[in-house]
Symmetry: C2
Subunit: 221 residues, 2 copies
């Protein structure tokens, strides 16, 4: 019983900060998206390409979550976008208090859109609300089409599913039934928007940019 109570208290403490973050972002009419995936699905590559190709259209800032290293933040910094690195030192997910502190270190007023790149983990980050406007789940085709069924929580909670590395489908380098992945994700979440992309070749990225631009526009209303 005690274990459950303490778990609940940690989640309540997290929710308090998450609510503060929601208010902070809403007052400023800023869109904030929480990207969640397994390690190596391509989150950072999606972000660097998105930042580069939307330059002049959307001003993007990034909060980078990693257990250790600032390798990803360095890659974001190369795009000249403002970035704040959080090292969780072993923890398996970002928490709302960390995001609250990071938002204060970003030039939020000058941005249209803030991405949170969560720790690479398809499980734990789904349980911690950060105050984001929406969750984006990324699944690489190299991971297999059974992942929505096997890791349902994050697919049930996300607004967009990016199916990345579709360049590997050409030539049959990986076995991935995209229709099965889509059907399983939609079974968990009727409203989920599914965009197949390759952040490497650029295929499908236009649909992602259109979605982002519309989303930013709506968040300004």
């Amino acid at each position: 019983m005690e274990k459950v109570d303490i778990g609940k208290r940690i989640l309540r403490e997290n929710e308090k900060y998450a609510f503060e973050n929601i208010m902070f972002l809403a007052e400023r009419k800023k869109l904030c998206l929480n990207m969640i995936s397994s390690p190596g699905s391509g989150k950072t590559t999606i972000l660097t390409r998105t930042i580069d190709e939307l330059k002049g259209k959307l001003r993007i800032g990034v909060i980078e979550g990693d257990i250790q290293t600032d390798l990803d933040a360095e890659r974001i910094r190369a795009t000249e976008a403002p970035v704040v690195q959080i090292n969780t030192e072993g923890a398996c997910h970002l928490s709302a208090p960390q995001i609250s502190a990071a938002l204060k270190r970003l030039p939020v007023e000058d941005l249209d859109l803030i991405f949170i790149e969560n720790v690479g983990n398809l499980v734990c980050p789904s349980a911690f609300e950060l105050g984001e406007s929406g969750k984006i789940v990324v699944l690489s085709v190299a991971e297999g089409d059974d992942k929505p069924a096997k890791y349902p929580a994050i697919f049930a909670k996300s607004k967009v599913l990016l199916i990345n590395k579709i360049d590997l489908l050409d030539g049959g380098h990986v076995d991935f039934d995209i229709e099965r992945a889509k059907a399983d994700a939609r079974r968990l979440n009727k409203a989920i928007e599914i965009l197949p992309i390759s952040a490497k070749t650029g295929e499908g990225m236009g649909n992602w940019y259109d979605r982002l631009e519309k989303w930013v526009k709506n968040s300004r209303l």
Copy 2:
């Protein structure tokens, strides 16, 4: 403080069962390997191929850990190896009490080797000892060569690193500097044995089978 104390108590409770599992396996001179990786690195494919190709040489049983579904257990069952499915119902790792219960449901006396396929998660399972003889970390080349540096704990604790899906390196379908991944893993763990494999094409699997056969032999001494 309370949070830390409760965390410690959960770990202590886990360690008590882990110790019991160690004794259970040692008394029977059985080898038990805990496979840990991100979702989709190919753990189940490695296991099904290993079971099929070592038939007649090693009698293998499997404990399957998944958040939901028994898709992986079904794949193992097709090899005719004995398998026990654990559904964690949301939890991000297997725990020693679960393994203790699963071991009692396997025909342990008739087996040479028991694999535990942990929940797909490169972070949390590394913190929970299950009483295994050793940890095997699997990294797919599609995940990127920066993963040992970014998720150090599991690479520091594993006896063997299987670098899987090396078939994707031919033709440059993915960018993965295998020497960088090896050097980073060895920096964390001097003793780690690194075996590049493709469970799909079979490349390098012979080295893995040799390693397993030696390991089983040693565990019988």
